[in-house]
Every structure is written in C-alpha cells, then in structure tokens.
Subunit: 325 residues, 4 copies
Amino acid sequence: MCTAATYVTKDHYFGRNLDLEFSYNQKVTIVPRNYEFNFRKVKPMKSHYAMIGMAFVVENYPLYYDATNEKGLSMAGLNFPGNADYKQEVEGIDNIAPFEFIPWILGQCATIAEVKSLLDRINLINIDFSKELPLSPLHWIISDKEVSITVESVKAGLKIYDNSIGILTNNPTFDIQMFNLNNYINITKEVPENRFSSKLDLDIYSRGMGAIGLPGDLSSSSRFVKAAFTKLNSISGTSESESISQFFHILGSVNQERGCVRLAKDTYEITIYSSCCNTDKGIYYYKTYENSQITGIDLYNENLDSQILISYPLISGQHIKMQNR
Amino acid sequence: MCTAATYVTKDHYFGRNLDLEFSYNQKVTIVPRNYEFNFRKVKPMKSHYAMIGMAFVVENYPLYYDATNEKGLSMAGLNFPGNADYKQEVEGIDNIAPFEFIPWILGQCATIAEVKSLLDRINLINIDFSKELPLSPLHWIISDKEVSITVESVKAGLKIYDNSIGILTNNPTFDIQMFNLNNYINITKEVPENRFSSKLDLDIYSRGMGAIGLPGDLSSSSRFVKAAFTKLNSISGTSESESISQFFHILGSVNQERGCVRLAKDTYEITIYSSCCNTDKGIYYYKTYENSQITGIDLYNENLDSQILISYPLISGQHIKMQNR
Amino acid sequence: MCTAATYVTKDHYFGRNLDLEFSYNQKVTIVPRNYEFNFRKVKPMKSHYAMIGMAFVVENYPLYYDATNEKGLSMAGLNFPGNADYKQEVEGIDNIAPFEFIPWILGQCATIAEVKSLLDRINLINIDFSKELPLSPLHWIISDKEVSITVESVKAGLKIYDNSIGILTNNPTFDIQMFNLNNYINITKEVPENRFSSKLDLDIYSRGMGAIGLPGDLSSSSRFVKAAFTKLNSISGTSESESISQFFHILGSVNQERGCVRLAKDTYEITIYSSCCNTDKGIYYYKTYENSQITGIDLYNENLDSQILISYPLISGQHIKMQNR
Amino acid sequence: MCTAATYVTKDHYFGRNLDLEFSYNQKVTIVPRNYEFNFRKVKPMKSHYAMIGMAFVVENYPLYYDATNEKGLSMAGLNFPGNADYKQEVEGIDNIAPFEFIPWILGQCATIAEVKSLLDRINLINIDFSKELPLSPLHWIISDKEVSITVESVKAGLKIYDNSIGILTNNPTFDIQMFNLNNYINITKEVPENRFSSKLDLDIYSRGMGAIGLPGDLSSSSRFVKAAFTKLNSISGTSESESISQFFHILGSVNQERGCVRLAKDTYEITIYSSCCNTDKGIYYYKTYENSQITGIDLYNENLDSQILISYPLISGQHIKMQNR
C-alpha cells in the first residue's frame, strides 16, 4: 500500500512511497499555470498555481498520486480500501471527483487555512474517471510549510484531522492510527535501563534495544508506527544532500521489498517509487525500486506560464557509477 | 551494529551493512596477488589470491571489514561484544590475530571446505594491531558460492556453525540467533486466513498482515529475524541490475536511520555503508548513508599481479541526476 | 481496571473481574421484587424483576457493579475513563443517572430486544450519587441468553454496539477494541506449521507456539485480546462444576496479580473479586483475590416478594481444606 | 507443559503447575523416613529424610513430579523434550535413573550446597522405569531456603545453572531462557512515561501500559517471561493466607486454560494441578483445574518414622461454599 511523510530541516520536504504490485505508466508531471483544468461538476480552472508531482496522464489529464504547488502546498492520495466512501452529487456545494481533488486544492490554495475553507464546501463524489479507470478508494495528506491535515471521506461524512506527525499510510481510519501510537509509549531511541525487575541483572547485549517492540511487518498499521518513530526521531544536517538523504531514509524504513508481501501467484507488492519534494525550491526527487540513484526535476526550470503539460518518464534500472573503469 | 547477507540469482552476491556512530577512513581496497601479507605469529604470505573489499588501511595494511577473493570466497567481520574471546598463543597451530583473519582465509582458500581445514588448526589470538587500534570483538561469516559458515571465538573455544540462511548480525551467539527464528514460525508473506477464532469475522484491512509480529527495531536480534525473513522470501529477476537492487533491498530492510538509536548526546548509530559484491564477477558495489547511488569497483580492471595495495575513497554526498537541467 | 465475560454451555454464565487498588465494602446483594427503586429524574419503580449481583449499598440503595435479574438478563459496568461522557438533562426522554442504569434496565427488561427499546429513549445524565460518591466513568455490557451489547455514552452521544464476542474490558471505545482483534489474525490454538520460510527448518520446541504474539500485559487492550482468545476457544463439559470452572479460567487468564501494575507507592491494582452468575439458575458465584474457593448465593433461596434488600458480605481469606487433619 | 516457581515471605514456598493433556493417577504422597528406597544401580537407602509431594505411585514406588523434604529442600521435574539426554552407565560414579533423581537428592540433602556435592558425581542414566513407563525428558529445579539451581542433562553433559529468579518452564535450555529475559528490559510495572517522541502527546488510556510487550501465549518461552515478571514483582503480606494466595496467583498468571492449546482432535493441554508447598512448615497445598479451593496436607500430621508410603487422592470437582443455603 503506501506511506507518505513530511520533514523539515532548513527547507520543507514532502513525499511518499507508492507500494503496488503493478505500475501504471506514471511520470513526473508539471502542470503550468495556464493549463486548463476541467472538472466534471464545477467550472474549469483556466489559470492556477503551477504544480509538480507524480501522475498517470490520461487524455492529457494528470491523475496525480502526489504533488506540490508553487506555494509549497503538497498533497498525496493513499489507498484507503473499505473505508473510503464517495458520495452522491449535492447541489450548492463543490462536487469534486476524487481524481480531481489534488488539482482542485493545489490549483487554488497556498496554505492549510485556505484548504480548510475549500473543504468546508466540498463533496467528494462517486464518479469514475472512465469505465477503464474506476475510482480508487483513497484518503489524503495535505501539508503546507507549517502543518498537515488528513482528509477522509467515509460513510459518516468528510473527516478532517490535524496530522501533527506528518505521516500517513492506509487503513484503519486516521483516528485509530493515531490512537494506536499510544501502545508504543515504551519504545525509545535511548539506551534502555532495566525496568523489568531490580532483582535481576539484564544485559544490554545490543544497541537499539530501547525500541524492542517496534513493528517491522509491512501492514499499514505497522508502517504507520515505524514511519512515525523514524520520522519523529530523525536527526540530520540541513543541507539539501543531508535533508533528502534523511527523508529517503524515513521512507526507506517502511520500504516494501519484493517477496515479503505475496498477493497471488507471482504477484508481490513492492515500493515502486519513493518521492521527496523540496517544497520550498520546487524540486521533485524520486527513486524507484530498481534505481536507487536520486533523480530530480526542477519545477522552475520549466516555462510555468505555458498551457501544456510537461512529463518526464521515470528513469529505471540501476544507474551505477563505476569508480575504476 | 551490523548485518551481513548473501544472495543468489544467476550470480552470487555477498555484502553487509556497517552500522556505527563514527567512521574510520575506510576505502574500497584491492590486494593484488603479490602484495606481501605479514602476520604477527605465522610466516608472511608472498603470493595469494587477490581480494577486494572495504578496509581501513593503516601502515599499508588492509584492515578488512568485508572482502571477496578472486575465487568468490567472501568474508565479513561483525561486532560481537561481550561474546568474542581471543586466546593466548598456543604452539604448533596457526596463531592468527583477528585483524589478520580475513587475509589469512581469503589469501589461501577457494571454498568453505578449504576454510574448514584451515580452521581446524587456527587459534585467534589476543594481539592488538597497535596501541591506538586495539582488537574489536568480532565474529565472522564466510561464504563460498554454495554455503556459508559462522565463526565465533568464545570462552568455550572456536565455534563453527553452518549458516544455512546466509545472514549474520551481532549478539547473541549464532546458535541462539538461529533458535530465536523458531519464535517467528507464524510469520508469513501470504495473505493470512483467520486463525484466531472461527466464531469471529476478522477483516484483512491491509496487505502484509501475515507478517504481523515481525520485529522492526534495530537490535541485533530483531535485525537478524527481519533480514532472514526478507532474504529467505526475496524474489527478483536475475539480471545484474535486478539482483543488486534486491540485495540492497535486503540490507535496506534493516538499515539504521539516524536518530533511531541514540548512544550519547549527539551520537547516533547509522548505516555508514552498505556493500554488495558480485562474487562471480569480482565487482564490489556500495552505497553510503548519504549517497544512495550505487558505486562499483571492478577487481579485474586492476593489475592483479602487482604488489601494491589499491584503494578508492568512498564517494559521499548524494549524486543526484537532474532530469530537466 | 476490569474484564467482563459471557459463556454458554448447557446454561448461561455472565461475570466479571473487578480490578482496583482499593475496595468499597461491596456485598452480594439481592433486590427482591417489591423493593422500591427511586430515581432522581424518573418515577419510582415499585415492583420489578428481582435481581442479584455485586453492589456497594449506600443509604439502602444498591450501587451495582454487575447483576443478573430473574429473567437472566445481565449487566455490568466497567471503567471507561476519558471516554465516558454523561449529559445534561433533556426533557421528554428517560433521564437516568449512570448509577441507576443497572436497576433501570434489569428492573424492566427480560431480553436485549426490550433493552434496545428502552435505550432508544434514554439519556445518561451527569448527576453524582452524592458529594462523596461522584460518578464513575463507565461503559456497560448487557447480555441476555442469546446476545450481548455494549453501551457507551461518549461525546458524540449514546453508542450501542452488538458485542458478538461477549467480552468487555475498558478503553479504548468498543469499535476500536473490536478492530484491534484483526491484528491477531495469525494467532492460533493449533500446532503451527512453518510459515516463515520453506528454506529453513524450524523447531516446534514447545506446545502453544501457534499463539505467540498474544499479549500478556494487563492493559485494557491486551486483556481484551487475551480474554477474547481464551473465551472464543474455550472447551468444557456442560456440568455446573465444569462450566463455572471454565468460566473462572477465562477470567483468570486476565487476572491482575499484585505487584504487576503499580499505581503509586504501595498502591497496586489487583483483581478484587471475580464473579460468575448462572443466569438460568440465578446462582451468583464469586472468588476473591485471597479466597480462591468459589462461594455461591442462590437468588431463589430468598423471599423474592419482599421489599427489603438482602446482602451477603464477601468471604475473604483462604478457606483451605486440610485433607489429613 | 509446566511452570515451577519459588516465593519467599516470612516462610518459603515452592510449587508448580503440571500442564498436560491427560492425567496419571497422581496423589499427594508422603515418604516417611524408613521407607526403603531402592535404586537400579546404587545401593538402597534404608533411612532418609521424609518428603512430601505429588507422585504417581507404581509398584509402591513414588514417581515424584515435585516434592519437598523435611529440611525444606524442594525439587521438581519439568518436561524438556528434545534437549534432555540421558547417558550410558559409567563406573565409579552414582548412576541414577531420572525417575530416582528426586528421591536420591531429597533423601540425602538439606541444602543446595549438599546437592552440588552429590551432582559432582552423578550420572543420569537412560533406564526406563518399565516397558510401560519409559523415561520422560526432564530438567529440574532444586531449591533450598536460600537459592535455586536448574539441572539439565543434555548432549554436552550435565549442566548446573544458578537459578536466581526461581522460575523454570520447559524448552529451550535454561541459559537461553535467561538470555531471552534481556529482550524484555523495557517492560515495567510502573506507569509509563512517553518515550516514543517528545513531539507527540500520548495518552495513558489504561493502567498497566508499562508492561505492553509482555507475552501472553502459553509457549514455554512466553510462560518463562510472564512468570518471571509476575514473581519478581510480586507483593504480598506475609501471613500464610496472603503468601499462598500470591503464590497461586504467580502460577495462575501462566495457567493453561482448556481450548487455548490444541494438540489433536479433542485433545487440549491444561493445567491439571497447581501446587504450593510451605517448605518451612511441610504443608503441601494444591488446586486442580476443576477445584479452585486450596487443599492442604501436613507432612507433620503423619508418622514420619514409618516405613509405609502415605497417599492422598486429589480432591476434584468444585467444592463450592453456598453462602445462603
């Protein structure tokens, strides 16, 4: 399934793992300011903030997995099966299809405060992109440079949660994910002292024993806990190299390795790509399962006043630097 | 601390994570066949198999962390504090200092069978390399293209274990590490069925739930279990790119992220480098904590009949490919 | 805190552990049919079903912890701190104080269907019994001979859950407790097969290894899982002796032993009493922390048409049978 | 399988759970001082310390499961399958069959120091009691009023371990069981503080959360940890009633409830009996799975100078005290 994270050093970083058993032909895609965004139930957006992110482009429409706009507002959709519940159209409010949600928000908002205003009058409607591309059950993390929120459209309606830890995975609902962190109150990055019994000598036979009990499987609950622990305790320098290194290490702590989650014969879930956007500089970095070198695309190296989508195919296959050839 | 692994596709791969809170100035180092290896208590080796690996070179002597020779025999030393016990010199057998152990074995042996013959008459002696460089408490994994063994010099003597899973971390002793895997008998890569009670409907709310219970902390026991699970269930193509990608993913599953293991004020254990040697082709690949691109050094691109050590400093800092600049 | 359970063999059984660090002077208390039940906001009940259970009797009023009426309907209140939210009085519906809730329901209802009708028009109001006896934050399990429900008055209103497993502990809310059982899908009473890897021989070195991962601490989440597992897998004969033995074993699986949960200096939570009511026969059995012999009180051995409360103090201190004196 | 424990208040206590899927006809059995103990390979013992314990008596020979002698020395044999290794007869030392081991030790020794002297010259030999009663694979805990040891006859020879915690279960070997306690270093009886991250508010939603991670399944490893935690943290008064109550609670924390460990169709492991001997007073108390009342037998209420075995059958079926009949 997936994991999203935020991280702050000198700059702000936002990214995610996409975990799936197959791959659409997703590309790093830039939407310039004057590309016309059409929506099914609301008026087109003729000009808007430029944005960059990972998208599957169909019929010249960017189906974004995650993106950041030129104001640094970022958003990612993550799988939410069984819980996502999209609604019938309701008159008088903004009826937005889930696949339009990222453009709708990133096109117009610079801050979470602005996002919350839009969410006050939104209705995520049950309209497929096409017969071949039905809706995915999703929930979203939206982050500006200060705070993050989680948005979930469930049976009981649209839920908006403050996401104080800047982490999102998948099921269960965000309130239960956050509650579950309480169960890891004993976990620590520190060298543990003996709390079992003073009548017994225990041996700290390894470093890292303070975190015994931290889960290492790849279920969405366990990834939430592990990613939260790694992110909240992360330490790094503030240079771009140090920052994105640490960011990819946070995502790497819950990376899905091929073979560990078998879905069916010859079908395994893996982390197809990991992304990290410097939301201050508008640079979108990514790695793929089979190319661990970081590739970057710079939003500001494009003509952002254009009307035309710009896409870069993912570089795949290891790009190895041979040091003595 | 550290994790070592082996992996086989079309070729054979051997490598390790080096987890420490500081870094010596280790380099990828090639020992050509005619470099004279001196030993403290046994005769010098004037010619021997060539080898490549990661070493801290002091006074023109390669203190290897891990290495592979031209026959594909590979060996790595991993931290073993509290358990490693080096001995007094004993006459009539091979008295080898632990820092000489990798050269001693890789210089002479092509197979584990040959290694076992040498181990029959070895004594790992308690002699420091120098006052400034005392002995590290270590144990070792040694692998040819078929099998692996673990070698531990403990109070009770020299223990040699078949290492059927091709994984080594640190404490406790290898027999206890292997025993502990029994406690994970219920863990599976498969989609789980409900085994809790037939009177209750349970929801498989996430992929990966079959492996709930797999540990995710960074203690040596937990890394052993997690690396074993990831390696034993690994699936990959057989190309060089696919093989080394999967290998680094195995090591990545137990990577140490900065901040998660705090040793003292401002002191954190991290995975300084990860290595992967194609032992058939003699290519040594590595990544560092801050350079996720894979760098390779080809043993056979050097003059292996030379007498002179060859060293390549580690490339560090992210080498980012900018796709649109 | 506490654990409640139901169990069915030939007859129906309902009971609970009361876990606290101190003890009111609770007694097994029988309310005959013509005892006049007064309520703060609704009319008195002059006649009603007789009931038996554990109560702290104050000013001739039975503050029931758990009770069963002559129709076999049973009810227990368990601690629910932080979540229980009692309301302001609302006109036109039944305003019942939480300490009146058990009499209100057991006095009038024979089945869960009847309970649900009453719950449709109930409001649990925020009125203390007295200045000295403020309200406890509680939630309730109510069971007839077929089904159980859980009732929680929380900020969002009164929640009524089907309780298909017949187990209740404390926090979190019941929906999260039930969700959490999904995380134990791999736990089994059966002899496990090796699911970790087919490339590795694992040793089933002990019986019971299929349930590795079952929690054994005394937090309310862990007791919920352990009690659910024990109850759902329980096997026993159908005689009264076998049935109540198994019932007390279910409760015993989450018993709180003195010393394991320290609240403050010299203050420890323990299981003060465990109860088991045969709801068909109206016999209330109990054990205490320091008297493991089962004591029984028979509802039908009393004059149930009386107006006068009947109370039996708990027998405490081990009642040991000396076999050779 | 089984769990043994020691406990000290004013007096000393020693006992065990016997966990099996079937029951021999074991009885509380007293061996007076002049009963002649015959041994297969060493000379008979015509007079010896008197002892009391649980035994299956065959051909007038007490096959003890656990026993205490009049000096307070106590001993229990617990299942040790796969590890127990009994030897060929060796001349010049004491060749004792495992079923003779408890009489051999308790007949002659008053202290662990004396036991150790005997163990210096013992050989546990591979002789069945009879064709119908082959040897069980066992290891033993032996305790005087100060200390305990564990004795294991394994392939590598006879191992004697100081047992500083006074707990024994089954596999693995005692050194690994003790090592495994290190993995529970974070477990505490105390109210936990948040160690996960200072950037996050966590809710202590339940008492007992400091011990999250304590295992609750019934495998021998998990029972060892849980019984050790419960025993080492136990608090009780010092009266006989309080002491034995706490003792049975320690054993109760790892009691095997019917249904949780299924061995085969209709075959479940349960705790058949729990015993607790006051080793100062010579009173042997027990409970059974289906009789929770404590029954006691007083060693000193018998003629201890007799030559004749004395046995009391176990009282079974709940002995319920009806309080209002």
